[in-house]
Amino acid sequence: MTDAAKRAGRDRFRRRAEFVIERALFLSAVGSVLITGGIIAVLVVETIAFFKEVSVLEFLTGTEWTPLFSEKRFGVLPLVAGTALVSAIAMTVALPAGLLSAIYLSEYAPDQVRRTLKPMLEILAGVPTVVYGYFALLFVTPLLQQFIPGLAGFNALAPGLVMGIMILPLVSSLSEDALHAVPTGLREAALALGSTRMQTTLRVVVPAAFSGISASFILGVSRAIGETMIVAVAAGQQPRLTANPLVPVETMTAYIVQVSLGDTPGGTLEYRTIFAVGMLLFAMTFALNLVSNWLRRRFREQYS
């Protein structure tokens, strides 16, 4: 074989190898779409089976949730209310605190301070949620009970507050990114017109970063709705339709945990309730994530 032929053969082999590698990489990337497909398929199949036995209307509008009792009721509203209550408490902590710290880190803090504070916030985000559950149950609740005598051992307030602390770093770092992306020219213009730093920040930079900041808020809400262990440990297991943060409640996620801890055989109605609740949870968080992504993309396009 001549050199030229050898080289041609090698080239052909290489081209083929390149092709095979690219296909393999492509398949891995497509695999991620299959995960989403799998999640949706599993949830839909079990949810449809669930709705063959329970009417959709009862599920979505019923105010009693007792699938584990002998007298079974399948109204999901108490679980939704529990989730909403805890999430609302979490967001009253995480939104203002997150935005405020983002403003400080992006507009005021000297480099040195920012470089020490940011990793500390990252630590807050990296603590496992079951540890936060411990904190809510055995530290925050007893602490609050000294000031609020009516506070039950399991309640929505303590896990809500702790969840707020957990979500703060997420809101703060995404909002900071948004503020950071606002062109310096806008700040300089405002300052040149005689605004103080605060006026520049609150009236120019924050409004300019609005869609990015709201994206971080929405993502925070989505995280709060899906958070499981804090509420499973510290909020109790009593589904009830209430806005009272002092009594035990049950969230959608905590219900799934409660059923999973028992040995529930597949194919039963009880087993299917967790998929129906999961479907609702997935639909809510998915919608929020889509909106958040859309806002963030729009924000990015605005300034680049």
Binding site: L121, L124, Y132, E227, T253, T285, N289
Partner: protein, 287 residues
């Protein structure tokens, strides 16, 4: 009057905003400190060699975390084996090959959405898919596969970031010298991106170590009197053991939970320390 107001707001506005922000940050860090101090105060006394090497027990004072610790090592190792190659491959495709095109865009949107799906939903997927449909049962492999799906989006996102940080000039130089695309990626891009990739991997896996909800959902046991010895063994992990102790009313078990949390946090701390060292090296090399 108006002018005075303006002057006051000029003087104090910035100060007020800053001190409020610092107050908020201080409160958050105080909460973190309180958490750590509380855990250590409660659990330090329970930490001992026998706590690490004993099996759980009905008597709190005899109970230990050995099966949970071994279970965590099994599950996380397997999770890494399953998620890392696929995650890196997907990231390479998205970053180096499929930059345009509707399909890549769809995949991208899909991944960022997956990263926001609550972990317990992955547990439901694992329960229906691995435990029931594929008949893996409530085994180590089912748990690891579930966690692998959970961390995959995180691995892909962080690997892409690391690849993006490699300057295009390196790719161009390699291609100009006649290397093929894959040769360029394998011999040039990946080695440069490696510390960043590793950092991302460690962070993703340390997230998996702390995950509790999806493993409870697939039915990992809360009481395991033996350590797993194969892929098909039933298992428990450290966070589930902690959760189990937390859900008992006796104070002694809460103490066990604190001691378990200390061990869990130390493991995470170790992993994060490695990640930080890697990131440091990475940044220094990039100069």
């Amino acid at each position: 009057m108006k002018r005075l107001q303006v002057r006051v707001s000029r003087l104090f506005g910035d100060l007020l905003l800053q001190s409020m922000a610092i107050l908020v940050l201080a409160l958050a860090l105080m909460a973190l400190t309180a958490l750590l101090v509380d855990v250590v105060a409660d659990g330090w006394g329970r930490l001992s060699w026998s706590f690490l090497t004993s099996f759980p027990s009905r008597r709190a004072a005899d109970a230990g975390i050995y099966p949970a610790l071994v279970g965590t090592v099994w599950v996380i190792t397997l999770t890494a084996v399953l998620a890392v190659p696929i995650g890196i491959a997907a990231a390479i495709y998205l970053e180096e090959y499929g930059k345009s095109g509707r399909l890549s865009r769809l995949i991208e949107v899909n991944i960022s959405n997956l990263a926001g799906v609550p972990s317990i939903i992955y547990g439901l997927l694992g329960l229906a898919l691995f435990v029931r449909m594929l008949g893996l049962g409530r085994s180590v492999i089912a748990g690891a596969a579930t966690l692998a799906l959970l961390v995959l989006p995180v691995v892909i996102l962080s690997t892409r970031e690391a690849l993006r940080a490699v300057p295009p000039s390196i790719r161009e130089a390699s291609l100009a010298l006649g290397a093929t695309k894959w040769q360029t990626i394998w011999f040039q891009v990946l080695p440069i991106a490696m510390p960043g990739v590793l950092t991302g991997l460690i962070l993703a896996l340390s997230r998996a170590i702390g995950e509790t909800a999806p493993l409870i959902t697939i039915g990992a046991l809360t009481y395991v009197p033996f350590a797993p010895d194969s892929l098909w063994s039933p298992f428990t992990v450290l966070p589930i053991q902690i959760f189990n102790w937390l859900s008992r009313p006796q104070e002694a078990f809460a103490q066990n939970a604190s001691a378990g949390i200390i061990v869990l946090l130390l493991v995470l701390l170790g992993m994060n320390a490695v990640a930080i060292v890697l990131r440091d090296r990475y940044q220094r090399r990039r100069g």
